[in-house]
Symmetry: C2
Subunit: 225 residues, 2 copies
DNA sequence: TACAATTGTTAGATTAGTCTAACTTTATTT
DNA sequence: AAATAAAGTTAGACTAATCTAACAATTGTA
């Protein structure tokens, strides 16, 4: 049984690893920033996690989850995303509210509870942000890594997720009618700064590259022809 | 904002106070037993709770909740019982399983969540054990204090709650078809040890006084005549 | 390659919540 | 009322998780 704190460390290592699949290196400072703690604190805990065989780690080396650690991490992510789905689907929370609450709920200890919740929700595969929900074995589907800024002008795509999970970003997206499964047409794009004109639900908006690179999309062409 | 631990202390003081309305005295040892801690530990925390104006307490004196402390306590009880109701009604847990899970869920911090949960459940007034659910102001209905051992022979009553919330007791009750709102007829009672023959859903059982005094009931006669 | 910048580590202090062991006060019993 | 039992308190130690400040190793660059 892990402590609340240990769970958060494993989850952060998992997220950092998966946010940049090209570089599986996780460093002390990086983890400190992610967890909002000081590097010295991290160092301290890394020893404990290594002791418990949850991570592989050598002094001045990189941090990686062991198989056990990884299983715990996906377990927490599974719980987090199922609770988000519950809050969104059943209690009517908006997608910018669910993350913070799920941060608390993900630490509830009960396999039975989480399996019942999963069933109650109809075995969802994705959470309200389009992130995949791991199954009880820790497996999850790979999602599109294509972002809206990569879609060529005059093509249409479908929104399938978001890279940024902050409430600010999510509320902004909401205000542009952008939600999961929404169809987006790229009208034009400035060569200089990639400022993009998009059409969403009959309305057009101008959005920055900072914004477009945080929207995950799927091509829609094949479904049209 | 209270810590997990502080919440548990307040909740225990609340429960001890309400379990014996004739004697509102709560002592250090008593609280220690209730929380599964040592008296010395309790003493330590009492100082902190007093400091925070959550309890009234003088050295060697009795412990009582302040108005603020009481409001926090009923808030926790409200959350506990709403979560129990959710687990029972929506996720299909049995009434002997819900308490332990609610012990964790009751500490989730979000007024909005609990109000949404309340609405989702249809504003229940009682939890799966028949205990009243306080409203957002901390008010709750008073329930019957009459127990099955007080029902005269050949009278019929309706089960409205349980005094003992242990899984062992609840499973035993379940095995006798005893659940909330069930009608119970008292067939006979031994004068010596109050061993009682009851009829439940067409079947008869012999139960001890230890058992009958843990079943809260309401008279049914007035509804019959 | 050597220096500077970045990154990581160590030592020691702090806080919350717990414990044990010894002691004090209050309550009960003869 | 005195002796005993029960209840409550204090002092001091421990663990988990954090911090700051000082130091060490690695990396990147001139």
């Amino acid at each position: 049984m892990l402590t609340f704190t240990e769970e958060n460390y494993l989850k952060s290592i998992f997220h950092i690893t998966h946010q940049k699949p090209e570089d599986p290196h996780v460093g002390t400072n990086e983890l400190a920033v992610h967890l909002g703690l000081k590097p010295a604190t991290i160092n301290n805990m890394l020893k404990k996690l290594k002791e418990k065989k949850l991570i592989d780690y050598e002094k001045y080396g990189k941090i990686t989850l062991t198989e056990t650690g990884s299983l715990f991490a996906t377990g927490i992510v599974r719980k987090h995303r199922l609770w988000e789905t519950f809050l969104f689907e059943k209690l009517g929370f908006s997608w910018d509210e669910v993350h913070e609450l799920a941060e608390q709920l993900e630490h509830i200890q009960s396999d039975k509870l989480i399996e019942r919740l999963d069933r109650f929700l109809g075995g969802p595969k994705f959470d309200p942000h389009g992130d995949p929900i791991p199954n009880a074995r820790g497996e999850f589907e790979k999602t599109s890594e294509k972002t809206l800024d990569e879609i060529p002008v005059s093509k249409t795509c479908r929104m399938v997720g978001v890279k940024d999970n902050s409430a600010t970003f999510l509320k902004y997206a909401d205000s542009l009618n952008l939600h999961l499964h929404q169809t987006i047409r790229v009208h034009s794009r400035q060569e200089y700064d990639a400022l993009t004109h998009i059409e969403v639900a009959g309305k057009t908006y101008t959005v920055s590259q900072k914004f477009t690179e945080n929207i995950f999309v799927e091509d829609l062409e094949e479904n049209v022809g």
